[in-house]
Amino acid sequence: MGRSMQSDQITTDFPAVFPLRGHRTHEVCGPGAAGFAAACFAAVEGPVLWAVEDWRQDGLNPVALSEFRDPGQLLTARCKTQTDVLAVAEEGLRDGALGLVVAEISQPIGLTEGRRLQLAATAGKTPGLLIVPEGMGSNAAETRWRCAPYFDRQDSTLLRWSLIKNKKGTLVDWVVRWDVASRRIIVVSKVRE
């Protein structure tokens, strides 16, 4: 891709993209998406709404979530259809009383839906995060991440977070891990592709 030829000035630093930029919607996919959302949950203040479709079996485990932040601050909304999930997310983003809105969707969404969420996030000054299946994001998203656990012989907590869409910078891969003691993400190394 020739990205290695770009100068350091326009290369994106981790603190510039994480914690997620407020007033915007972001997307995350991959097997580590829930961990990414949990890290975002820990990075914001105020209550957080997590909207899912009610047929989903893979529920969150608040005991594990407590290593990120107090799960008492999390509200989950179980919706019948994806349309309801999006509507609930829009309502939550527009209201402004929340610190973050997470929505898990299973079907691809169009530009209209993505743009509506983006406008709601701007109106409510709240960041939004969509957990999307691989390759099903919308173009309206500010950033899109692919997250997966990363196998390493020494460390069993490493995660690989790849920025695969970024409206304000370049695409970078990081290997990170969650530090339970300080409750924040620590960048272990930067992986260039």
Partner: protein, 489 residues
């Protein structure tokens, strides 16, 4: 005008009610379990005639009467039925009170002539109640105690001034005394009320305290006794009738605002808050449209409730116009007045509840959950999922050992032996175990029935695969098999 009181006593109240709902032939009784025994609670006339009495154990009763049919008693339902009867008795006089759990007391002073006289009024009551399937005994006297005594021991009417003549021959038990006092009086040879009345008062008081003479005076009407009528339930509804029909959303909202102000003033006066509000809009063509609003917490602040109605009102089909609006608080909860601190008084107060209400009106308020900690070492029982509108966040979660962020119902994988398999297939993926941490043995909670834990002990392993996925596997040594139950972030 002298006071006139009617006492109604339903000697077989509970069984009459049960038989009204589902009649049976022959001996019948209701049972209530007390301590370790099922005892008769109320028996019908046939059973009572065969010697069955309340308080007898059911086994004794069956030995006496093998054909006895029984049903469990429902004292709460009986209490509700008695209140319904009290409302019905309002047709005779406005002053109706409850007497114990199977009687009513009516102050009919100045009301009897409306029914053609006292005897005719009692006949009317008896006729209507027997038609409804209730056995009733009636007494009418100049005092509550006198009417009580007549209803239970003599029936009939004690006219003004003849209280002693009618009540005197009745047994001592007609005075509403404690059973021990009754027995003690009877041991002294005092069989009837007039025997007690004939004794010098000072000696009775010295021997038994003021109780018996107070009851005697109340029965004879010399000491007044109040009848407490049932309070009217509070009305939480307001109505607005319009001279000309309206159809614009803004107009309907303005009308709703006016109704809401009145309703919230009523809610505030009684220190209650609405949980479920219903706005009924009547159209010119007599059609009705309803807007229901379920609130995430009890509320009585019109400024906060009104915007929540916007979504529902916008969906109303006005047709040729709306000419009557009715707002009702269908569910009401206590909401005591609270002192606000300066931090709470700002803008942020209640915003989350309002958001939950708006979301709840779309997906159902019971579908918004929050997590509460629970005391269990079983992974899927170590937390509770509670509806957020009816619970408060509380307690803290403790992860003593690594726990997966995602938990799902166990999915079987191929594998044998006590160690995690070197390679396995899960969700159509071939995975290779690179590192395994464990086992962590978790035993089922034998005091709870849980189908998923029928297979006995579980040895949990945290398995890091070469492909990256970190899974939570378990092995069931008592019924060999391997399962995936969760995935680490």
């Amino acid at each position: 005008m002298s006071r006139r009181v009617v006492s109604l006593w339903f000697p077989r109240f509970a069984s009459d009610r049960a038989l009204r709902l589902r009649p049976v032939e022959g001996a019948f009784a209701l049972t209530l379990s007390e301590g370790n025994a099922d005892r008769l609670y109320c028996a019908n006339a046939v059973a009572a005639g065969q010697g069955l009495a309340p308080g007898m154990t059911v086994t004794d009763a069956r030995a006496l009467q093998p054909g006895l049919q029984t049903r469990p008693a429902d004292p709460r339902g009986d209490a509700g039925f008695l209140r319904a009867l009290a409302r019905w008795a309002g047709r005779y006089c406005p002053w109706v009170g409850l007497e114990g759990r199977d009687g009513l007391v009516l102050d009919v002073t100045g009301a009897a002539h409306l029914f053609g006289g006292e005897a005719q009024m009692l006949d009317d009551m008896r006729l209507r109640l027997s038609r409804a399937g209730l056995t009733v005994q009636l007494g009418l006297a100049g005092s509550r105690g006198g009417a009580w005594a007549l209803a239970r021991f003599g029936q009939g009417i004690a006219g003004p001034g003849e209280a002693l003549r009618r009540i005197g021959p009745l047994p001592i038990a007609a005075l509403r005394l404690e059973p021990q006092t009754c027995i003690a009086l009877e041991r002294l040879g005092l069989r009837s009320v007039s025997d007690l009345h004939r004794l010098p008062r000072a000696t009775v008081t010295r021997r038994f305290g003021p109780g018996p003479l107070l009851r005697l005076d109340q029965a004879l009407g010399e000491v007044p006794e109040a009848i407490a009528p049932l309070p009217d339930p509070p009305v939480y509804s307001t109505r607005l009738t319009l001279p000309d029909p309206i159809g614009l959303t803004g107009d309907v909202m303005a009308g709703t605002a006016r109704l809401l102000d009145q309703l919230c003033a009523r809610l505030k006066a009684r220190e209650t808050g609405a949980r479920l509000l219903r706005l009924t809009l009547r159209r010119v063509d007599m059609g009705h449209q309803q807007v229901e609003l379920r609130l995430a917490s009890p509320m009585r602040d019109p400024a906060r409730i009104l915007p929540l109605f916007e979504r529902g009102v916008a969906e109303v089909e006005a047709g040729f116009g709306i000419d009557q609006m009715r707002l009702e608080a269908v569910q009401v909860e206590d909401l005591p007045v609270q002192q606000l601190s300066h931090a709470q008084a700002g803008q942020g107060a209640g915003r989350l509840e309002d958001l939950m209400t708006r979301i709840g009106n779309r997906i159902g308020l019971e579908n918004i959950h929050r997590f509460l900690p629970a005391d269990s070492h079983i992974p899927e029982r170590s937390f509770l999922v509670a509806p957020a509108a009816w619970s408060d966040p509380g307690g803290s979660f403790v992860a003593l050992r690594p726990r997966p962020l995602r938990l799902f119902p166990p999915e079987p994988i191929g594998g044998a032996g006590r160690k995690p398999p070197r390679s396995f297939r899960w969700r159509a993926m071939s995975l290779t175990t690179e590192r395994a941490a464990g086992p962590e043995r978790i035993a089922p909670e034998w005091w709870l029935q849980e189908d998923a834990w029928r297979s006995g002990l579980r040895d949990y392993w945290k398995v890091d695969t070469r492909q990256g996925r970190r899974l939570w596997l378990y092995h069931t040594p008592q019924a060999p098999g391997w399962f995936v139950q969760g995935e680490f972030a």
